[in-house]
Amino acid sequence: MDNFPVVGQRIPKRDAPQKVTGSAIYIQDLKIPGMLYGKILYSKYPHARILAIDTSRAEQLPGVKAVITGYNIPPFKFGFFKDNPPLKSGKVLSMRDEVAAVAATSPEIAEEALEMIQVEYEELPGIFDPIQAMQEGAPILHEGLKSNVLKLPWRLICGDVDTAKKESHCIVEDTFSTQWVTHCCLGTSGCVASFDINNNLTMYSNTQIPYLAQRDYIDALNVFGIKNRKVRVIQCIIGGGFGSKLDTYAYEYIAILLALKTRKPVKVLFTREEEFIATSPRQSTITKISHGCTKEGKLLFREMEMILDNGAYTSWGATTPSVMMMPISSLYKVPNVKYIAKCVYTNNTYSQAMRGYGNPQATFAIESSLDQLAEKMGMDSYELRLINANEPGEITPQNFKVTSCGMKECIEEVAKRIDWKGKRGKDKGRGVGMASLIHVGGGARVYKSDGCGTIIKIDDYGKVDVFTGASEIGQGSETVIAQIVAEVLGVNVEDVNVINNDTDVCPWDVGVHASRTTFVAGNSALGAAKKIKEQILEIASKSIGEAPEHLDIQKGLIFSTKDKEKNTPLGKVLRNAHYSTGGKMLMAEYFYDPANENFDKDFKGNLSVSYAYGTHGVEVEVDRDTGRVTILKYIAAHDVGRAINPMMLEGQIYGGGLMGIGYALSENMNFREGRLMNPNFLDYKMLTAKDVPPVEPVIVETNDKDGPFGAKGIGEPGLVPTAPAIANAIYDAVGIRIKDLPITPEKILKALKEKEKRGQSGEEGK
């Protein structure tokens, strides 16, 4: 592949100096004159009827400017199913249900006022287990519904699984389950809602979907009786998203309602406990999976049935089966596929998007089951994976058109670097395991548009402003976009400024999700940059006296490719164009919407323009006495098309890997009867810097034909195959398979003791 001066270089993340010196302005730092502080009162019970709310004492507290409840706000519901009112009346369905809210002149007064609100409840029997929630006679959460199962017919049928079963030489079947985990954004959620004199709304927000949120707010304002107003969304610097900010939340509507009522800007800012309790995490799942293959080890079918705990309300969590379908139908070549999923209401929290969007849950079952299949076949699971690996040019059963695909290379790189042949099945107490992934790498047509707009202008001095719809949530998109534009325009990357936080200024984008920003926003920036470059060369052609096709720009100098002596600085050309008769300002806009497809009614279609692949290999040591797992080596190979910025790419791999290791070994939202028992970093075991194992990223470049400079997405893949790779390594080390995440020392020790017992009573065991 070609080498470029800017693209492919290890350029530090441009917002890093701001963040480490403390000068970055987060929502936490934002203050607007006259601003009030909103606080929310949550339910005391996971399922109860509200009998009475008395806010009179709170209203009388000096400094309190407004108190609202579900009984004195317009009837409005938000969310994917429009089943969630910002403040509840009648019934509460979870501990995080918002019952009342206060706006006051200080957060302390607002908090004190909350304590003065008297709510009388009649406690109702709760349902916390999705399987119980499906049983007959179970209390129905949402009035007017006949069942707790959501009306979402997730069902994917490819080929003929029943026939394939009969033809299979070897079949394995098992059940796997995963836990609730949360994003742990270091910047907690928050917003400031502010109305101008004409009732136009400005929302300062942490959202990762400014333009979809804008629409949600407009819908809300319409219900609140303020029609045809303008909504502007401004993002402060965002301290992490990971999918948590992919939907709008009750607190945002509460801020809007309080601002409307008080005619003052109102800020709602979550505490860490609220961040744990009242944002929407990755749901728990129970998956029954079965795999079958031929004598040679070629996969014949994959059958999966899944139950997802939706929680009390419906957000994007309920749609994660659509993304789970991707690994289920298309991770390795498997001709016959059947997948059925049910999302079930419970009185737990409610689920949302989180990095990987269902893919980690599905891949845990798939890749664990594949190791079981290999064992039953007497095959090396590495060989089984190679035999079935995806390849370029393939069309998968779900009609994904695979363009670039480096899966085999990833598997081989991992095997080589982890010393698979030397270590697999050898050392007692130590073991190696691997697992692969597929993810969307070229956008994902989840909505009607998967587009992103870019505007570029260049000032009189050759400095470039790029207005992009793509949000920066810490992942580094503004650095990548600046690199792409600098590369095309032949300017220094420092001369490219990226503006990406204001819906009044920037063009539309669907949001930061589906690992799409480098690919989609990158292509959009690429398109705009090419357009403006054409204009520049056109103008320069006159002053330099050379045809535009023989001109190029490097380091801010326009020159003839035939005679480098013929050149002019970019700024000079721009100034001349500006200050000549009939003057010209250089600007260009470009809207890129990838040629991917929405699923049809059978959930088939080419969801993404290209797909990302990867394989993780792990070496673990298991302490047989304590059940503790130590990761000795971690290889993460990813097919990324091309690394626009290898340093930031590695950052995504480290971060994803560590999040995945937490998912595999330690993180768990511990719900007891709907109450979160560990809403803090002490008891929610997100891993620390000291827990980071030696992660070795391996970048496999396949130069995707549709990607900007060949790049594909990498935002999510880093955590997708982590848990099964670790589970497989543990099995190799001590012969026990933990099928229920997280793999805690307790579970391992228990399984080891049971295995020992079985061994003594003469039954089989590895």
């Binding site: 006495d625 330690s666 827990d691």
Partner: protein, 326 residues
């Protein structure tokens, strides 16, 4: 968080006078426990008396044993070379507590006065035979640390009392100690259980020289190691075992101690000691760990801690311990 009056007295006497004269006052040292309780609204004091300005509380002194002022931070203890060598269990505890940031402000006195069953420094102080000096309105009194804890968050301190210092005896070169904190993470964690031991040994054979010392640098199986110890008559002359998070207060495993004291170490005896200690404990199920697992870990960690203590006697100058399971 409601408002409170903040005081910063310069002497112990002044602090005690303030505390006894105010209604709802709270002492604060490093603040790493008190501020959490304040935020959780578990305490709502009207007055907070900081002890950080009292110079007499922050010191490490070596005369007739070890003296540590209650206001000494974990970081200061962690960096003390004599403590690392001769009071290793305390070094283990202070170097693994919380994070660097927490250790820089959290004090050993605060860790003990907070009286959590999981307090990291409690088990080491118990096995190091620490005494505590308490200053109160009526003067000073000294008690063994064994008698300090009454229950979770409860101590013998009366209103106004300040825990002033910890005093530990001198230990000779045939004594070693260690503390093992069993956690889910490498930092920012409380122990699922914690075990500290201190052992004094003698060698029966070969004129008191341990011939098998090099085996400690290998990854030889523990049962082989213990068999070698037994062959060379490695005898436990004195022993302390303390356990945290296994009962309402950090506690000694006195029956296990009695069963080991005076005996030659063997694998069989080690198994028994683990069982006895586990039976002395009364761990409970909690969000942080299940009782059965805690009980199992006592068996494992008591053995590992004793081995680590012995290792430190035999190879006191080895800065880096091999990557062994203990």
């Amino acid at each position: 968080m409601r408002g409170y009056e903040y005081y910063k007295p310069g002497t112990i006497e002044e602090a005690i006078r303030l505390m006894t004269s105010l209604e709802d006052a709270q002492y604060i040292a490093g603040g790493t426990d008190v501020l959490v309780l304040l935020r959780q609204k578990k305490i709502k004091p009207g007055h907070i008396i900081s002890l950080r300005n009292i110079k007499d509380l922050a010191f490490i002194a070596h005369h007739n044993g070890l003296h540590i002022g209650s206001g000494t931070t974990h970081a200061e203890i962690e960096r003390n070379e004599i403590i690392r060598r001769n009071y290793s269990a305390l070094h283990d505890a202070t170097s693994n507590l919380g994070s660097v940031q927490i250790r820089n402000v959290a004090t050993i006195g605060g860790n003990i006065c907070n009286a959590a069953p999981s307090a990291d420094t409690a088990c080491p102080l118990l096995v190091l035979d620490a005494g505590v000096t308490i200053a109160g309105l009526e003067g000073e009194r000294k008690i063994p640390v064994d008698e300090f804890f009454l229950g979770p968050g409860k101590t013998v301190l009366r209103k106004g009392d300040i825990l002033k210092e910890f005093v530990m005896p001198l230990f000779g070169p045939t004594t070693g100690s260690s503390y093992i904190k069993h956690t889910r993470r490498q930092a920012m964690d409380l122990p699922i259980i914690g075990v500290a031991t201190r052992i004094t040994i003698s060698i029966g054979k070969n004129g008191g020289e341990l011939r098998c010392r090099d085996i400690l640098c290998t990854i030889e199986d523990v049962s082989n190691l213990l068999a070698r110890f037994e062959d060379e008559e490695l005898r436990c002359e004195d022993i302390r075992i303390a356990m945290g998070v296994v009962a309402p207060i950090p506690m000694r495993a006195k029956e296990a101690e009695a069963a080991l004291k005076g005996k030659i170490i063997s694998e069989k005896l080690f198994e028994e000691i683990g069982e006895i200690a586990a039976n002395e404990a009364a761990p409970r199920d909690s969000v942080r760990g299940e009782a059965w697992y805690r009980r199992e870990m006592i068996k494992v960690l008591v053995k590992r801690s004793i081995l680590r203590s012995i290792d430190r006697i035999i190879r006191p100058d080895d800065m880096v311990y091999p990557e062994r399971l203990w």
